[in-house]
Symmetry: D2
Subunit: 222 residues, 4 copies
Amino acid sequence: MGLSAPQGEKHRRHSMVVVPMDAPGVHVERSTHVLGYRDGPHGGHAEIVYDAVRVPRDHLLGEWNGGFAIGQARLGPGRIHHCMRLIGMAERAYDLMCTRVQQRVAFGKPLAAQGVVQEWIAESRIRIEQARLLVLKTAWLMDTVGNRGAAVEISAIKVAIPEMATWVIDRAMQAHGGMGVSQDTPLPELYAQARMLHLADGPDEVHKMAMARRELRRYPTG
Amino acid sequence: MGLSAPQGEKHRRHSMVVVPMDAPGVHVERSTHVLGYRDGPHGGHAEIVYDAVRVPRDHLLGEWNGGFAIGQARLGPGRIHHCMRLIGMAERAYDLMCTRVQQRVAFGKPLAAQGVVQEWIAESRIRIEQARLLVLKTAWLMDTVGNRGAAVEISAIKVAIPEMATWVIDRAMQAHGGMGVSQDTPLPELYAQARMLHLADGPDEVHKMAMARRELRRYPTG
Amino acid sequence: MGLSAPQGEKHRRHSMVVVPMDAPGVHVERSTHVLGYRDGPHGGHAEIVYDAVRVPRDHLLGEWNGGFAIGQARLGPGRIHHCMRLIGMAERAYDLMCTRVQQRVAFGKPLAAQGVVQEWIAESRIRIEQARLLVLKTAWLMDTVGNRGAAVEISAIKVAIPEMATWVIDRAMQAHGGMGVSQDTPLPELYAQARMLHLADGPDEVHKMAMARRELRRYPTG
Amino acid sequence: MGLSAPQGEKHRRHSMVVVPMDAPGVHVERSTHVLGYRDGPHGGHAEIVYDAVRVPRDHLLGEWNGGFAIGQARLGPGRIHHCMRLIGMAERAYDLMCTRVQQRVAFGKPLAAQGVVQEWIAESRIRIEQARLLVLKTAWLMDTVGNRGAAVEISAIKVAIPEMATWVIDRAMQAHGGMGVSQDTPLPELYAQARMLHLADGPDEVHKMAMARRELRRYPTG
């Protein structure tokens, strides 16, 4: 996405083009890590230098100067897609936790018999279910009243679901002991992805601010 | 509810009868308070002495020795009813909070312009919506698969909704300043009711234990 | 405290006088409640109308137009005094909780044998100790560098100690079951006092803001 | 540390020896990761196979069959050492957070002017100070009454300080945006270390259980 009309009206200044990785002038400087996980130069988020790169006209995505609109159109679906995947990650972590605590014996009984562990399981199930239902409602709203009509709910899931997922995955790590933070389970990598989603596509704080402002419109000012 | 068949089988030992308040031998010893709120002898939960009280045979509720079954049948509906009312209380508190922060000016701007207050509003909306959806799903399950089929969900809402409600009401109290803990808003009385429901109809801890045990059945033991 | 020099310089406008309760023109309109607890007209925080009340000249506290300074001088000591009392309240609640869970049997063993209850006890002990040490350090600072030099710490305890106390007292209530929210333990009244101190002498939010601003002075702006 | 007297009395069964890395039969199988961070085969925690390794008699550490005692003697000092380092890590993260929020401008003002960010700073300062004081008190107890006399406090810091550190570091990451989870700050690596210390040297849950049991000894059972 690049600036194609610097003097254009505010939302008509950028265009999107597809740039092949092997186009002359494309240099991948480095990949950026997320909590120790790196994508490598083969993919993921990278720092890329475009040095006088040229692409054919038909590599334009959508309209000339229409880049902002494409970006906006993608935001709602992109956010809910992240949330749907986080629910899957949380269910995966939950499943690993339940499996582990039934098997692992400490102090003469399975971890599953410990009240504290039972709390993690109950709390996780409560949080996952609430998250799933809020995502489903949001999807239904997006289908029926559109992204704009579902703006509060899209922000709501963007805040709530990473919070749920990091909590559940963290408890699953704890239930695994030292193994839980190692490469022997997918848990720490799931954690890294969930943690990153407190920031990607807008940090929690911006979404909460946007939600509050919309909610407060219904109340008269002093 | 009284013991009518001490030697009967475990779930067929009690009967329920309706006792008029003015029946000879009924003494209301005192009412019990909830965080400073008292119902008075006119109602609410009271300590009552029944001293050789007799009632006509037709004051029996349901079957003789069938008291336990009546109690059980009521538990699921009673719990969801409490949760539904708590959602109403939370919405009421939310409404008072939003109204207040739009009106009240401090440090030269309405409280509603403070980021911390906006967080309370966004978080409250997120929590109320998730709570409502979980209660609605539970009601649907009770209608379609019955109280027993909805056992995990009934426990889930019995834990989650008082937690949500005490949080939202507490933030609404804070947004009102000293007025928020006084008799000038309904908030402290709502708080007392929500707090009490962490205990009534089974404390949080028992419901979480029950949830975890049911969930863990699906996982093999070591 | 009343306005004695409306045109005076900003911190020299008020004076404090002692007003006897039986002075002509003093009307106690009502007492204000805190979560259902009321002080009655005999004391506590009340709404009072002063209708052309006159007192002798020697009822003046300190200097004429020196009311603000008296109020300020009291704030630091007043706040730490509240915190010290809250630590006592938390210890009292902790003691009641430990006593109760050793005695009360449920599911065939004392509550003290439940992992979740053990967590409350350990967490409470951790929080109380940290709170006590921060209050002691603050008292030492007030003695050695004065209220102004201890400003960050006074705000810190004003936020941290009510938070600790409400948490510990709330867990003690939960450990007592329904009795825990009733008049049969001092816990709900302790809770009301601790909750009120999130607001009295400056709400949490104002103290945090003040702390942050002082802390940030050490860092250069962009 | 190996089993040297399988039939010995319970605490006299193990011995510790120093094994040079280049001793015949030593094979480093792999290193274990912590949230994506790996030590490599050059150090850190590794899975090591000892295949009929022999060392000279003077490589024995302490007494023959005295391995358990060495391990125990190290536990208290080891734990407090971890806690001291965590306080340093939290201070480092705090410093990075304050520096960042003064410099970074969003929505027309530095992040430091946002109330939510100010809360993170105030809360972080409160938590770090409380943690530091509890560690100092524990160190003083270890010096004056010994590891055994300081057992409750050692468990307390082992639980409280990683909790404080993960919270502060997490907020510092959030204050940095996407950069905060990348390799461009030390924050994610600090996070990994702090998270790991909820498990290393005894998981939180075991320390809380031990604390509660010691505390409860002072209260009579029912």
